[in-house]
């Protein structure tokens, strides 16, 4: 299997590090940031391509680690070329884009896999497994937190809402997807967000209350407001027969406190880190590899899941803007 990676930033580097642990071959890299593409290609002994079209001619799978607003066009190109697609989350910048991406891949008979990597974080996967086993009984209240400092990304695209869709679409979508995974379909969303009222606020922060169709409720916290390099995630699932807790920092097996040295420049993007033999990204890419080869028939997260996560995120954004509770029915 020959994989072509689009992008050369944090996520492309992370995916490349995961792909080399599979039998797949990284056949090439394309990025508008040529220097970064060259460095990444050099690190994995592969070559760079001048365009997505050129890359597509030489690969079986396109792994899209480009900014969100580019997912749509690149996926359509890949589908037209009859190539399978691995796409970073969020699936698309708009719902229409995501729908078109799914339709195009269906029509072309190629696979479309979306990188909702939280489902591959061991603690999140384990909690889901426990819930499915009935360890907590019927789920009543879910609490999810994911906050970091402001990411930059190449050219600062994360902070450009036209490109990234903003904090709720880029970051909170992880937990919108996870809440739905453990507590079932989402019926409505009520949100408060700093940037929806104060677009020029230095940071962004939001709280969302989800109602699930089975009666469960979820509190989802997201933010790009912490001082770097702080990144905290937390997970709590309370049911009528049990409780799962994973507070922020509660299971960090390694704590390091050293004198600062060098420039002290903050990282471009925050990613939670808890040392494991295989990183969550390794597990995700390994799973995608197995799905692409047909060894695994049902992906842990489908493009349809990615579309629903996007719907919840857009409902959350609409709620923050209108101040009203927003029903998911509006996004049918």
């Amino acid at each position: 299997m020959r994989v072509g990676i689009v992008g050369a930033g944090f996520m492309a580097q992370t995916h490349a590090a995961a792909w080399v642990k599979t039998p797949a071959e990284i056949a090439g890299i394309h990025s508008i940031d040529r220097e970064s593409a060259k460095r990444l290609a050099g690190a994995y002994d592969t070559r760079t391509f001048e365009s997505v079209a050129a890359l597509l001619r030489d690969v079986d799978v396109l792994d899209i680690c480009a900014p969100t607003h580019l997912h749509h066009e690149m996926t359509l190109q890949a589908a037209a070329a009859g190539k399978d697609v691995v796409c970073e989350k969020p699936l698309g910048r708009t719902l229409d884009q995501a729908r078109e991406m799914i339709a195009a891949c269906d029509k072309a008979g190629v696979k479309l896999l979306v990188g909702h990597v939280v489902r591959f974080f061991p603690q999140y996967a384990l909690a889901k497994e426990a819930v499915d086993r009935g360890d907590v009984g019927k789920v009543g209240v879910v609490r999810l937190t994911r906050c970091s400092f402001q990411p930059r990304g190449t050219g600062g695209w994360f902070m450009d809402s036209e490109k990234s869709g903003g904090m709720m679409l880029d970051l909170m979508i992880h937990d919108f997807d996870y809440a739905r995974w453990v507590a079932g379909e989402v019926e409505s969303v009520f949100t408060r967000q700093v940037r929806s009222r104060h677009p020029d606020a230095p940071g962004d922060y939001a709280l969302a209350i989800l109602r699930h169709t089975n009666g469960a409720i979820s509190n989802v916290e997201g933010g790009w407001a912490y001082p770097p390099p702080l990144f905290r995630t937390a997970l709590e699932i309370a049911g009528d027969k049990g409780l799962i807790e994973h507070p922020a920092g509660s299971s960090d097996p390694l704590e390091v406190y050293v004198q600062a040295s060098g420039s002290g420049e903050r990282p471009s993007v925050a990613a939670p880190s808890s040392p494991t033999t295989e990183s969550p990204y390794d597990l995700e890419i390994r799973h995608f590899y197995d799905v692409l080869t047909g060894a695994v028939t049902t992906p842990r997260v489908t493009a349809a899941d990615g579309l629903v996560a996007l719907k919840i995120a857009f409902a959350a954004i609409e709620s923050a803007q209108t101040g009203k509770r927003v029903s998911l029915k509006e996004f049918a």
Partner: protein, 338 residues
């Protein structure tokens, strides 16, 4: 200072006995309770004089009383106390309706007695510390707060080996006023008003009855979103989501996110963990300061000086109004303006 205790329906009454006894110059003249079993049990337990009736207790002219009746029965006792000229510390929530809260304020004002709402968390040292941090401006303007005041089902307040003390009213809609929204929204709503120095202008709530759904008639899970006049928003998880086999009863947490960063308060985190063979499960034993002590001391000082206490009837009224709005929102699915 002569103090009477009106009803032991709320378990906090026991703690207040210790708090009162820790303050020099305070005499507990006794207790009255409309539940005779409860009255006799706690009179014996604490060596307190048991009065036949609330009227009999008030006839002894206490300087102040603490009202610990069922939530819905605060108003008649506060009326009696005010008429007898006693300053009142009333257990939270002040009232189960906004009208009752207003009536308590009015009757105390007319009688010239002080009315304080029992919001002890304002005297919790970790909470006081974060209030200082916000006041200092170090956190910057506060964007929002992710908070939780979770607990176990308060029906469990009836401990093994006790006679039936009639303390299952926490899950009785008529006597408690409701479930988790009544029980566990007011502390954080009050703390946030106090810390932010801003009033709540809008309330949204989602509730459910997944925990103990078949056993009780009130909501047992709840998430409430408050929006303040200054633009800060806060979610409150008020659920009885801590199971009876949890290491402690619950807790109170606030994660305040501001322009300059994050402050996390876990008010009951000062514990040691005990693994005990007989208990069969870990227990968190608290060693932090008792917030009730500061609250009771402030009440007695305000009563002694006949001045407005640090926490007023109006604070209790505002919390009651937020709770009422939360129920309205839960019923309609719409945010409710205050």
């Amino acid at each position: 200072m002569r103090v009477g205790i009106m009803s032991f329906a709320h378990l906090h009454a026991e703690g207040y006995v210790y708090n009162l006894r820790a303050i020099p110059g305070v005499e507990i003249i006794g207790l009255a309770d409309d539940n005779p079993v409860r009255a006799a049990y706690f009179a014996q337990q604490f060596g307190l004089r048991q009065f036949e009736s609330y009227e009999a207790l008030l006839a002894e002219k206490p300087d102040a009383v603490i009202v610990c009746s069922e939530n819905a029965r605060h108003l008649p006792l506060v009326k009696l106390a005010a008429a007898a000229g006693a300053h009142v510390l009333c257990e939270k929530p002040l009232a189960t309706t906004v009208a009752d809260a207003q009536a308590m304020i009015d009757v105390c004002r007319a009688a010239g007695v002080q009315l304080m709402t029992a919001f002890p968390m304002r005297f919790s040292p970790p909470v006081m510390e974060v209030k200082k941090l916000v006041d200092s401006g170090q956190l910057g303007p506060v964007y929002g707060c992710n908070s939780a005041n979770q607990g176990s089902l308060p029906r469990a307040h009836q401990a093994a080996g006790m006679p039936d003390l009639g303390r299952d009213w926490f899950v009785n809609k008529a006597l408690a006023g409701g479930g988790v929204v009544t029980d566990h929204v007011v502390h954080l709503a009050d703390l946030l008003r106090w810390i932010l120095q801003s009033e709540v202008v809008e309330v949204f709530a989602e509730t459910n009855q997944v925990f103990y759904g078949a056993e009780v008639e009130v909501e047992t899970g709840g998430l409430v979103m408050l929006t303040f006049a200054n633009g800060t928003f806060a979610s409150i998880d008020c659920s009885w989501s801590k199971p009876p086999y949890y290491p402690t009863w619950g807790g109170l947490k606030m994660e305040l996110v501001g322009e300059n960063g994050l402050a996390v308060v876990d008010a009951f985190k000062q514990t040691i963990t005990l693994y005990n063979e007989a208990a069969g499960r870990p227990r968190w034993l608290p060693w932090g300061s008792d917030a009730n002590q500061g609250m009771v001391a402030e009440f007695l000082a305000a009563a002694h000086e006949n001045r407005t206490p640090a926490i007023t009837g109006f604070d209790g009224y505002q919390a009651a109004a937020i709770v009422a709005a939360a129920y309205q929102s839960a019923a309609t699915g719409e945010p409710v303006a205050l």
